[in-house]
């Protein structure tokens, strides 16, 4: 069982690196796209109409991927009043509770998120670039799935030695995040 949990944590290390890598690239693209719009606007005097559509797509994916990833390190803030005063056993129980409640949200985000994406994707596209809104709305179920995986990771004990964990991390993308 312990090996299974450690294996899961190692897989999450890899997934965390990949997802953060993607989110970082999206953040960079978000800036470059906006900067492009400003420069063209100031130089030519005409704004590029498609900038907002692309920004919206990038922004949504960056947020939902990021929201999934930060769940593993407790990135979503809560009132830590009770958590900080109870012992390690109760803390572990609370972490399991957080994960279970997160999975309820994940169910709605993934199951109904896919339904919603399919529904809007059937007939609606963006105004200028004709991108199917399916790709916009898909960010919600994907983010939800990541939230579930990383919330489970946060609840499970990580019994790997720091050296093992570092080794697993080093085996991944090699991006210094």
């Amino acid at each position: 069982m312990q090996r299974l949990i450690n294996g899961y944590q190692s897989v999450l290390d890899l997934l965390e690196k990949v997802c953060m890598g993607v989110a970082v690239i999206l953040a960079g693209l978000l800036f470059l796209n906006t900067a492009n719009g400003i420069v063209v606007d100031q130089v030519v005097g005409n704004s590029l109409v498609w900038i907002e559509e692309v920004n919206n797509l990038i922004f949504a994916w960056m947020i939902f991927i990021g929201a999934g990833v930060i769940a593993r390190q407790g990135g979503h803030i809560g009132v830590q009043l009770v958590y900080d005063i109870v012992g390690p056993r109760l803390q572990a129980a609370l972490r399991i509770l957080y994960a279970v409640l997160a999975l309820v949200i994940v169910w709605v985000m993934v199951f109904y998120g896919i339904k919603m994406a399919n529904f809007v994707g059937r007939s609606q596209t963006s105004l200028y670039l004709d991108i199917s809104l399916f790709y916009y709305y898909l960010s919600v179920p994907v983010g939800g799935a990541l939230l579930g995986l990383f919330s489970i990771g946060a609840a499970l004990p990580d019994t790997r030695t720091p050296a093992e964990a570092a080794h697993d991390s080093a085996q991944t993308l090699g991006v210094d995040l």
Partner: protein, 428 residues
């Protein structure tokens, strides 16, 4: 239904369930109770539409700009300038800390960044010069709240997008309260320094050194002027101004200060993603919760509670301030703005309070909560960099929090301080 909302809200919050999760879970519980599965489609739909607000695109860019300037090493330059300006007053390093925080406020808009950047240098320097550790940490933590008051300000961006209030008006309105908070903190720091014998008076460095420090610090100080000037002059929208702030930061970091390296880019973007995801996911979850607020007419219920307590505008504002101060001690300000803002602002408007004025009361009040014992976020950050226990810091910071509350009451009851600049530029 109301029972489900409040019956699940408080226990989950106390158990430490992330606030964003609590908001969605309450919505899910109510939908389950209503028994119509089609309602669940609203949750992903509302979550997604929260990301379509273009104004909120400024959130990642202001976070990015602050992180760029931080890594470009502007903290030293701003502290040199602050030291040259006010270091000669009794308790000079405390004043330097406060003024540096005020300058830093124009760059980051985040109290925690300010605590770490300024406190990381100032707390050890103050200790070396005979100031007590808890006094140094208290000055750092209390002055860092100026960050979200002086523009640019992330909480104001969130407030403006949730409440549909002019962001330029809010930014302009934050200028005087930010300076007032700094002056109140300096007065408090001075009195404590005199009473406890901290920081002997040192001679003024002279105008030549002050001018030199000003030249070095000017490019960093120009950032808020660029943002406000660009917006007010009609050159950029607030979102574009935030991206211009990033461009300016890159220019300063790579070319002017030459402290920024290409290897800094990934950590800057990584920090931006994490901070933005936290704020925006909370917004997305609150968007799904907002359906409940309108469906159950929660605004009307809250209005009735307040009207039953008082019909006097000034008493209402006092009650709101007390409520926000208590909530700010325990809860994240994002939650308070997103959930309580739409409940309380309409009542304030009925009492004749200007939307910009009420927005600033809310933001300044909740910002003070960031440094209020026992759970203020910046208290934990200050403890982390100073090795002072939370209990000792909580005592030491009380006089500074009291000074900030005096300023809060001043801006609440004298609208001149918040409305002067917005009126001057035609935003109110």
């Amino acid at each position: 239904m109301i029972g489900i909302i409040f019956g699940s809200f408080v226990p989950m919050l106390l158990l430490g369930v992330p606030i964003a999760f609590v908001l969605v879970l309450m919505t899910i519980f109510v939908y389950v109770d209503m028994g119509d599965p089609r309602l669940f489609l609203q949750i992903p739909q509302r979550m997604f539409t929260s990301t379509e607000n273009l104004l909120l695109l400024a959130v990642p860019f202001f976070i990015m700009a602050g992180e760029i300037m931080n890594r470009a090493g502007i903290t030293d330059k701003l502290m040199n300038l602050a030291g040259a300006m006010v270091g000669w007053i009794r308790g000079g390093l405390a004043h330097t800390n406060i003024v540096a925080s005020m300058f830093f406020a124009g760059i980051t808009g985040s109290a925690v960044s300010d605590t770490v950047a300024v406190g990381g240098i100032m707390i050890p320097a103050m200790k070396e010069n005979g100031y007590s550790e808890e006094y140094s940490a208290a000055v750092t933590a209390s002055s860092s709240v100026i960050g979200p008051i002086i523009p640019p300000s992330i909480p104001m961006l969130v407030y403006a997008s949730v409440m549909n209030v002019s962001i330029a008006g809010l930014f302009l309105g934050g200028l005087l309260p930010g300076v007032l908070v700094a002056l109140a903190l300096m007065a408090t720091a001075y009195l404590i320094a005199v009473r406890q014998g901290f920081g002997e008076r040192t001679p003024f460095v002279g105008f030549a050194r002050l001018f030199l420090a000003l030249i070095h610090g000017l490019p960093a100080l120009a950032l808020p002027a660029l943002i406000m000037g660009g917006i007010l002059g009609g050159f950029f929208s607030p979102t574009q101004a935030s991206a211009v702030a990033v461009m300016y930061g890159l220019l300063m970091g790579f070319i002017f200060y030459r402290n920024l390296k290409l290897s800094d880019i990934v950590p800057i973007l990584s920090h931006t993603v994490k901070a933005t995801a936290m704020i925006m996911f909370l917004m997305a979850c609150a968007k799904s919760f907002s359906w409940l607020v309108s469906y159950y007419n929660l605004v009307e219920h809250v209005t009735l509670v307040f009207v039953s307590l008082t019909e006097n505008k000034y008493v209402f504002l006092l009650l709101v301030n007390i409520l926000f101060l208590i909530i700010g001690m325990f809860l994240d300000m994002g939650f308070a703005i997103i959930v309580l803002g739409p409940l309380l602002a309409p009542i304030a408007y009925q009492y004749g309070v200007d939307p910009i004025h009420f927005g600033l009361i809310t933001c300044v009040n909740l910002t003070i909560g960031l440094a209020s014992p026992p759970f203020g976020l910046v208290l934990f950050a200050a403890c982390g960099i100073s090795n002072v226990s939370l209990a000792r810091l909580s005592w030491a910071i009380l006089p500074f929090i009291a000074a900030e509350i005096v300023v809060l009451l001043l801006i609440t009851y004298v609208p001149f301080f918040t409305m002067y600049f917005p009126r001057l530029f035609g935003y109110a």
